[in-house]
Amino acid sequence: MAALSEEVLLVVKRVRQRKQDGTLYLMTERIAWGPEGKDRFTVSHLYADIRCQKISPDGKAKIQLQLVLHTGESTTFHFANESTALKDRDAAKDLLQQLLPKFKKKANKELEEKNRMLQEDPVLFQLYKDLVVSQVISAEEFWASRLKLNSVDHALSNNNKQEVGISAAFLADIRPQTDGCNGLKYNLTSDIIESIFRTYPAVKQKYAENVPHNLTEKEFWTRFFQSHYFHRDRINTGQQDIFSECAKQDEKVSHLSCVKNPMVDLMSLEDKTLDEGYGSLTALPNSSKTVKENSNSAIIKRFNHHSAMVLAAGLRKVEASSDQASETSSTDGNSRDSDFFQPPIKKVKLQEAIEYEDLQNESGPKTIALNLKKSDRYSHGPVPLQSHHYSTSQDIINSVSCIQEEISCYKPCLTRVMSSSAASSAITALSPGGVLMQAGAQQTISQLVSTDVQSELKHLYTAAGELLRHFWSCFPVNTPFLEEKVVKMQSNLERFQSTKLHPFQEKIQREYLSTNLTNHVEEMIQAAYNKFHAWQTRRMLRKT
């Protein structure tokens, strides 16, 4: 399989491994090394297996790159090309840096996901045992369709999961260090940069606008740390401060969003403020603030703003997705319904404020308000859309009054009803044991069969269902891969029939139970066989 369909991303020659010269290949899914002059790889690691890479420090004679695997083993490559060793190494390092995180997440996520699914779903676990552990199908086959199937609700559950927030102190972690000659050094990691971007979307936007065509990355961050936007307590000096806009933008946003909870709105707290000129200790307008006081209040402003942004960054994602969801579902007009049904926030807060939970007996479990996106859908259920007309409320009122009128003048036509004897005979015929109810007299399986047989039957059913699902999912067979799979599935079914179903049938025969217990499963499998044969004969015909 080596290098069969793989794209080679980077080739580095003259790389030594275990004192042997060779060539290093970085491919889309793995890294490999082959000794010089030979046509095979002696070292090959999937990226998913690699835990981390390490490099030799700058200035060392040997320029090396070490890969540490999840298993704990490590492989060291020595870049031996004198002139370009450092460049080669860095190229390899950078590429690995990009590739590794992708695989790391994927590998762990998949395993976790599989584990989680098995733990959460006992039926699936049983199925896994029935099919994979007993080697009816391979684990990959089992998961192949599972994961795909689950990717939908997987994505959903991912959305519900809480985003990891941002530490409020992330800026503190980049304490500048003096470099000894009148300068400051900031250490930025990708984590910190991500935090900055998430917290201050305006900066991210600036970054996208300016890097790399106007500024280099380094210049950008230098300016950021010099800017007034970052140091609010400094006096704004920058004429060409690219971040001055950001501050304005933020201000605009914070002015737009006013306080939602009326209980904390200090502006409307007081009922009747004193008119201007009245009052004893009126704080006179602070026209005469010193520079220091100004900078102090700027710091305070900055902290408030920073905390608000950090808080918002943690919530932004969730909101964005829910917004989207509501937008997509609100195409037909009445999306504001949910607002209408929820009591206004003020009322809720008031009720909360006057509640004494320990003074009253709780009246049943606390209920959660039903949040309807579309109330009419709830009350009518999904009905096929009638294209011609919607009834207006006037129509409804009219028809209701119409019905009322009819009911009010309804007279039962007593002369034309059924005779009482005929009615009672009909009732007896329809009661259990009556003429028309004979078929229902059969005893149910649960009364006939012992519980362990029942559970075994259940397992059989789920296993057969799973296999059949795999089988039927191959149709229409339009790729060679599916062809291969359908054949394999057919053989899987046969194997299942022989290893699982037949023993079970024998077992129930031994216990003198009617064999028609498994009839239905047999039928299902038979249907699959028929389909398979039909497909095969058609394929034969086409081939010949």
């Binding site: 409307s268 008119d275 000129g277 004893s280 919530l315 003020k346 003074l359």
Partner: protein, 783 residues
């Protein structure tokens, strides 16, 4: 449940009751029986409001002739709405239990800003704008003009209300502000005037202090309320300041400049009217000669031009001749204005009493006391005669004339201080004339005299006996109730030292000390690491907070705190603070945890509760003394000493401690709640400070919680928090701090409750020297 409170059947809308609620109702009943006034302190979160409402409503139902109305005054709009909602709950319970629909009418009244439904007017943002616009649509002469000129815009809601609204009383029920608006919209009536009209026959009125205490408003809104009313001032720990604020006036150069333009406008208008409609002015003159009281012709919509003097001070005589004609009055105003301008041209601080001021003005510009007294009344009449639409523009001249009336009416209890510049900036000339009231009893006196029972209540009223003294009244009951607790859910700790043993204090000498600031920072840092969810920290003033925050920022303390929690800070900008506050709650709600840095005496400390996880710890950095260098304060302290025999230090400490108690009390709102109360100043450990804390806090300060170091505080806090985190069920409380009806009826429990009452007697005994003080105080309302 149905309770028997001293022979009165009280419906209480809950299945359980706190013992202190029962005791509170008992005391309240005694006060009502005696038709006297009462001072009751009960911890916040023990259901004070519902106890008050339950008892008074029951009293009203049983003795409809004894008590006809309940006037419930609260401080903030959310508080007012909360009271109405509790009342609604009570009334629903009544309906359920008795099965009949009672015909109680209860409503909230608030300013136009909160009640207006006029599409244009209500969209205005500030209360003053709303009032001004409303006035320009509803003033009596505007409406009169409409008869001749149909294009004159008026408010259709008011017109509709005026036409039919008064004939049919509003149906009985409970009306919150929103309910009033909904009702107004349905009927097309103005909710504000509907509410103002309806309070006259409502059984329960809930509104803010100002409607009773500010004479400018009280005269118009609350004048006709029945004498047999019970008045409740809730959250009354600051009531003296409200009284003082409503009677104090500050005049700056800007005020005088604006006043100047006002007077010129008046003069021009008079000139114009004289040419076109001289009869109008003659008519006014005739009215004034006859001494027709303006009050008779005053319309309810002309609220702006009210008299700053008390209702019973309303002048019976005719306006003196010297200011009777419009021109003369304008000339008089000009002279007065020039005099004030001259007074503001000074280079040193002047302090004088009202008589001194009057003497001076007589000597300099020959203005007599009598016309000064009529100044406000005369201006009111003139503005109406001139049919000036936008009264809001005339606030400056109104202020000046109100000042004239006040200064000439009260010879005592006020002081005039003229400062040429602010203390902090002696180089910038900014002269201010402070006419400040020093005696809160002036504003509240008519309330005590007029209504049969006035109840002053709050969570923090300690020491109780000071309130009757500064407000000058004789209560029949004074009681402080403790909080019965099944578990000690509050943990007051006094931190006096840092780990380096340096004393922590915000006192003036050490407040800039680096070590103190660092220790404060370390305390907050340590607490942020162990306290879950929200922490609220209070500083003594904005300036102090800003300085400390800045130096914490420089020292890197804030960054370390940020590793544990988000930081939000109160600022002087209300909008910004509201945002910060909402974000703070959000951060507590979603589990991130946050710290709110705030200021004692600030808006947050006065109006916002930090229930449950919104405030698991409150830290009070320093003792929140008022800025003692202010001359106004010094004058007030002197006055208190001379008039009420209250020593300066006692009052200052009392004032500081009530604010500290207010701040820390914000965290505990009920028995299921819990919170740390950290007093970070070694001075709290002294008996004179500690003794002024409310009893329900004081009780839990043990010797082991005095003068702690930061480390010890952390240890104690950890222990406390761990204990509190255990599940707390109703069974734990039952019989101790929560009672069923059966338990309440048992002998043993009644014994226990009466023990709370015994402690009350102590409070009564303190009253004994009271009459002496009262006698020593001369009547200060000489006219």
């Amino acid at each position: 449940m149905k309770l028997n409170i001293d022979g009165l059947l009280v419906y209480f809308p809950y299945d359980y009751i706190y013992p202190e609620q029962y005791s509170y109702m008992l005391e309240l009943k005694r006060t009502l029986d005696a038709k006297g006034h009462g001072v009751l302190e009960m911890p916040s979160g023990t259901g004070k409001t519902i106890s008050l409402l339950s008892l008074i409503v029951a009293y009203q139902r049983t003795y409809p002739l004894e008590v006809t109305k309940l006037i419930y005054c609260s401080r903030t709009v959310p508080e007012i709405e909360k009271v109405i909602e509790e009342l609604r709950k009570l009334m629903e319970f009544y309906t359920k239990e008795t099965g009949e629909k009672n015909n109680f009418l209860a409503l909230a009244l608030s300013s136009r800003k909160n009640l207006c439904i006029h599409p244009e007017v209500s969209s205005l943002r500030f209360g003053k704008e709303v009032d001004g616009k409303c006035h320009s649509l509803t003033a009596s002469y505007i409406r009169a003009q409409r008869h001749s000129n149909p294009n004159q815009p008026v408010c259709r809601f008011y017109e509709e209300f005026d036409a039919v609204g008064r004939q049919v009383p509003i149906p009985s029920g409970i009306y919150n502000l929103d309910d009033l608006k909904a009702f107004g919209r349905k009927k097309g009536w103005c909710p504000y005037y509907l509410a103002r009209y309806s309070i006259l026959h409502a059984n329960i009125v809930v509104y803010s202090y100002h409607y009773l205490l500010d004479p400018k408003i009280a005269d118009l809104v609350s004048k006709e309320l029945a004498k047999k009313s019970v008045v409740v001032f809730d959250e009354a720990h600051n009531i003296d300041n409200v009284c003082i604020d409503s009677m104090s006036v500050n005049i700056t150069r800007r005020t005088l400049d604006r006043c100047q333009t006002n007077v010129e406008t008046l003069q021009n208008t008079i000139q114009r009217i004289k040419e076109t409609d001289a009869a109008k002015l003659r008519e006014e003159y005739r009215r004034l000669v006859e001494g027709l009281k303006e009050a008779n012709v005053a319309r309810e919509t002309d609220i702006y031009l009210s008299n700053p003097v008390l209702p019973d001070e309303i002048l019976q005589e005719a306006v003196p001749g010297s200011i009777r004609t419009a021109e003369h009055f304008v000339g008089f105003l000009k002279r007065f204005l020039e005099y004030l301008k001259a007074r503001l041209r000074i280079h040193h601080v002047v302090q004088e009493s009202s008589p001194q001021f009057l003497k001076d003005i007589y000597e300099k510009v020959c203005i007599d006391r009598k016309p000064l007294r009529f100044c406000a009344e005369r201006l009111r009449s003139l503005l109406r005669t001139l049919e000036i639409a936008d009264i809001a523009d005339f606030s400056a001249v109104t202020l000046i004339s109100n000042f004239a009336t006040l200064v000439s009416t009260y010879s005592k209890g006020f002081t005039i201080i003229i400062e040429p510049f602010e203390d902090k900036t002696p180089t910038i000339v900014n002269p201010v004339l402070h006419f400040s009231c020093m005696d809160p009893s002036i504003a509240i006196k008519p309330v005590f005299e007029r209504f049969q029972s006035v109840i002053i209540t709050s969570g923090t009223l300690s020491p109780l006996d000071i309130y009757p003294r500064i407000l000058d009244f004789r209560p029949v009951t004074m009681a402080s109730f403790t909080m019965t607790l099944a578990r000690t859910c509050l943990c007051p700790l006094i931190v006096g030292r840092g780990n380096d043993q340096v004393a922590m204090s915000s006192k003036f000498e050490t407040r800039e000390d680096f070590a103190v600031i660092r220790n404060y920072g370390n305390l907050l840092l340590e607490m942020s690491a162990i306290v879950p969810d929200g922490i609220v920290a209070f500083f003594t003033s904005y300036v102090y907070m800003e300085n400390i925050v800045a130096s914490w920022y420089e020292q890197g303390i804030l960054e370390n705190i940020q590793r544990n929690k988000l930081i939000f800070i109160e600022t002087q900008d209300a909008a910004e603070t509201s945002m910060a506050l909402e974000k703070y709650q959000e951060a507590c709600e979603n589990g991130r945890g946050a710290i709110l840095l705030s200021v004692a005496r600030g808006k947050v400390s006065e109006g916002i509760d930090f229930v449950h996880h919104f405030g698991r710890a409150v830290i009070m950095f320093g003792v929140p003394y008022v800025y003692t260098q202010s001359r106004i304060l010094k004058a007030r302290l002197e006055y208190l000493r001379d008039q009420f025999q209250i020593r300066e230090n006692d009052f200052l400490t009392f004032d500081a401690m009530r604010h500290a108690a207010q701040c820390v009390g914000r965290a505990i709102r009920g028995k299921t709640d819990y919170g740390l109360m950290i007093f970070a100043d070694k001075r709290y450990a002294r008996a004179d400070k500690r003794g002024k804390l409310p009893r329900w806090i004081q009780e839990h300060i043990t010797d082991g919680s005095l003068n702690l170091t930061i480390d010890e505080t952390v240890q104690l806090s950890k222990h406390f928090l761990r204990q509190m985190a255990q599940p707390f069920r109703r069974e734990d409380q039952l019989g101790l701090s929560l009672l069923t009806l059966e338990q309440l009826q048992s002998e043993e429990m009644l014994q226990k409750i009466s023990q709370i009452a015994q402690q009350l007697l102590l409070g009564r005994r303190q009253l004994v020297p009271q009459p002496l003080v009262l006698l020593a105080k001369p009547p200060h309302l000489s006219t």
